[in-house]
Symmetry: C2
Subunit: 249 residues, 2 copies
DNA sequence: CGCGATCTTGAGGCAATTCAAAACTAGTGG
DNA sequence: CCACTAGTTTTGAATTGCCTCAAGATCGCG
């Protein structure tokens, strides 16, 4: 039986409240949808963004608030979620460096989700109208943004598919693999999911209770598929996890 | 107890295999994302589309096939679905006049969904590359398309939210209301959902079995919330249905 | 009128939830 | 360095909502 250890997930405590100008330009120019632009254009776009820092657990905005801004996550981890009337949370997306989110629609509609910082984060903020002006001026950028949205729609459809047909075990296995693809990091323990990940968060992502998540995680551990502790999970046998999905009927 | 009747859903048997040039231009110019274009531009775009007709049950394309085309539904009803390994289907979206679908991403990736005609339909087809050229030439159009995608992402998030937290009854109530907003039509029976809708299809949309769908529909009927028969449902007490959602914990 | 398809209903089983308590962990301050 | 504590995780037992399996009822069509 694997011995429990301190979490291998490093907590980056950057002075997130001040992302340097350097960092800003670096982040912006690395964004998939700005990559093809001349650096002069990026500098100009840069002036439209304001930077902001948040601490773990802090909320960037709540659903139903008027949606005025577009956010770009420069550093750290954040999550998009909805909460039910009963107080239960549903996590819709895990956001990492370079992801954009906020008021995606054209008109000023209320946010449909809540955004919360999971670690210390630094975000770049701009208004919807300014962002849309950029898209209008640089059609190539608009197409890239379109691709990102199309990809997210696919991902959402994946979730719907899983939620309506797969067992709790399968959904959790699938989620672990998806997370490892997004924030996986090779460490001693295996392929570490490099973000704080408690049983309850896993539950919120997969539509089960935290008790069920715990039971499944325990089983996976016994079967040697993963290693895990407080707030962290690492894959020790990715291939076997993937097999689990195929074998599902 | 309400008496059963022949389905009030009219089956439009247009000669769908030939949408007239008139219809094509009308459809295209009414599309939300082409609406702002000068008619000359629309005529030019029109030449890039080829029309095609399908009969109920016919497949436009299957998931995993190479995704080369963009489709615009001109007339009729179609659905986007995925099927599990066990043969169970999951309906992701109901498509109506003006909806576009197909290979939404930039690069030629396989379709991630299957598209099936639900009635006699007429679609306009173009290649991904041609469609993207249009978007590049008319930035306003790209922004509109972006809005459509953003709205669909919201809708998908709605589904995820429901699937991970609500009961079968709630999900079905929610789905009926959503459908009534999309294809609702006032008739004698009430607010008719104007598309062929069997218990099994309702089940595929809500992630339950057709038996469960049937039980819930029966209950709703007893409670006077809806009227229904073979392949059709009409809302007789929309307000009460909506209350059901709010009262859910 | 009879056939195929759709829909309803029942009974039993099972996966996942709920409720509850105990075990563990990592960080805290004595 | 160790005991303490708050938060997390595990495990158990009882319950339940939905699924599965299986008839039977009903409808619409030819």
């Amino acid at each position: 039986m694997a011995k429990r250890r301190k979490s291998p997930v490093e907590i980056i405590t950057t002075d997130a409240h001040m992302c340097s100008l350097d960092l800003r330009l670096k982040i912006l120019s690395r964004l998939p949808f700005f990559r093809d632009l001349p650096s002069k254009a990026i500098e100009k776009i840069n002036t439209q963004f304001v930077e902001k820092g948040y601490q773990p657990g802090a909320y960037l905005y709540f659903s139903d608030e008027p949606g005025r801004n577009i956010y770009v996550l420069a550093e750290g981890r954040a999550r998009l979620l909805r909460s039910t009337a009963a107080g239960k949370q549903v996590m819709l997306d895990l956001l990492t460096s370079g992801d954009f989110f906020g008021a995606l629609g054209s008109v000023e509609q209320p946010y449909t989700e809540t955004a919360q910082a999971q670690s210390d984060i630094c975000v770049l903020v701009t208004s919807v109208s300014d962002f849309r002006a950029v898209l209008k001026n640089y059609p190539g950028v608009a197409l890239q943004v379109l691709d990102v949205l199309a990809a997210r729609l696919q991902a959402a459809h994946d979730s719907i598919h899983l939620l309506s047909s797969a067992s709790a075990e399968t959904r959790i296995a699938h989620t672990l693999l998806k997370l490892s693809r997004k924030v996986g990091k090779s460490v001693d323990e295996g392929l570490l999911i490099d973000t704080p990940l408690g049983r309850d968060e896993l539950a919120e992502m997969t539509g089960v209770t935290s008790e069920t998540a715990s039971r499944v995680i325990s089983q996976f551990q016994k079967d040697g598929l993963i290693a895990s502790g407080r707030q962290w999970v690492a894959l020790t046998n990715k291939a076997a996890l993937e097999e689990l999905l195929d074998s599902e009927r």
